[in-house]
Symmetry: C3
């Protein structure tokens, strides 16, 4: 989704991996077969970016143009089969999913805000589309896996973290930061706020 | 969505407001926080038009091009917080939502049919896309708020009202009415039929 | 969706009919009224192709360009009303739906892979989009009708059949088969595997 530099391509890849793994793990925990596991990991990894690209008419879609991602995720889905049993009742798996999900949220909301910004959206809409990119993959994953989406849980912050992360990224760009620094700042704010809100049960006052 | 005249822009704005308020009220009734309330009011107000625009490839989307709407709805969502308690058990709130929803349905089905018509769709498809524009915002709102969407309730008419409203609007245009008159006629038919069907429990015979 | 030859147009029409009838029957079984029945049959028939076309930005959509299909389905929805009672507890209706659904799956996954292939997608993505075209109509139908989508049932194969059918079609093209032969081979593989997997409860090993 980004062409600004190699470091950004790396962030993109890391976001796809982080979200794909959360999908993989949740689907295996639910006892899905290979087709289900692959579908959930694909939709988690590419759902948010796809919704954003449809909303701004940004074609071709990333995963359709670069079929290597879809093939890589197929490899992971197959490889996860022998590990499936260990996912069922391992408490540290839940923690891993939460950290991966927070990381993916940070990577995707900044990447999403960047794509929307480059497509000519103004500050506020680019910020909203950063949130859309960050949260929709996880919403789809949780709906298919019959979980309450994180974004609708009232005892912690989720969309708010992505909103602030996107705002920091876009504000950084406007203040003259280079893309890499602005991205790192946005990711840091998102991940830190998300993990703190889970640990200390921070919620919105109204 | 419309550029035919200032009166039409006003109808558009009124439709957005009517639907946004229904979303605001339903989300506050469910005890959602600011992020939830804002999301529901945005999706109710712009969901139907977004689905229509994706189906006909009509870019840029209205709310993405005019970010003022999204900011205005943010203001309403914040302002609704101190009023939230009064929404919980007030019977007149339910009536207000129903009248606003009927009004939004009429405004959006005619506006939607008009956009589709101008995009080159024929009479029947423009009529269907008018219905899509009118009903999808409310469907999304009711699904997120865990209500049965109005459109699937069997003891009253909903999509049928939008269908007739769109047909009256498009038929009026073909009979030589000016856009304003055709729009007013379409809105009147939709709202009247909707309110009558709720009051007298009118349903389809089969 | 296809312009390769008249035989392909015929397959397209048959796929629309097969899926539309499954939607019609399921919606009548649930006691929906005319609007509900029409909506379900439209979404079942055109949902998969619409998702594919949105993903590759392929406009105008088939059913929007050819409004005759939407009108034909309206005729079927009206005509199904007097037959509705016979749908409720007839065991042979269930079998008919399953065979129609398998046929629609085969027709649509090959047609979908063909459209994606012609739009420039590579082999693997075209195969995935063939599956998307085949399965999404039925997923939408089953969600609206409150059934578990076939694709998520663990005691039989569904998406796997569409995947193999798309692969056979695309592989056949690459091996030099003409479009008609490749399509027929893809359909045959999909339908045969689907019916065998239902009869003998074939599932994926992991």
């Amino acid at each position: 989704m980004l062409s600004v530099g190699n470091s950004i391509v790396l962030f993109e890849l890391l976001g796809v991996l982080a979200f794909a793994f959360t999908g993989l793990i949740e689907a295996r925990k639910k006892g899905m077969d290979l087709v289900g596991v692959y579908t959930v990991s694909m939709i988690t990894a590419f759902g948010g970016g796809t919704v954003r690209d449809l909303l701004i008419g940004h074609y071709p879609l990333y995963w359709i143009q670069h079929s290597g991602y879809a093939l890589m995720l197929l490899g992971f889905a197959v490889a996860s089969a022998p590990l499936a049993a260990s996912f069922y009742e391992n408490p540290c798996v839940t923690n891993t999913v939460e950290v991966l999900d927070a990381t993916g949220l940070g990577l995707f909301c900044t990447a999403g805000a960047s794509v929307a910004h480059q497509a000519g959206c103004d500050f506020y809409i680019a910020m909203l589309l950063g949130v859309v990119t960050g949260v929709f993959g996880g919403i789809f994953r949780d709906i298919i896996c019959n979980e309450i989406p994180n974004v609708f849980r009232r005892n912690e912050l989720y969309a708010t973290c992505a909103l602030l992360g996107s705002a920091v990224f876009l504000g950084g760009l406007q203040l003259g930061l280079d893309t890499l620094s602005a991205t790192l700042a946005g990711i840091a704010v998102t991940v830190a706020l998300r993990l703190l809100s889970m640990k200390y049960r921070i919620t919105l006052p109204f």
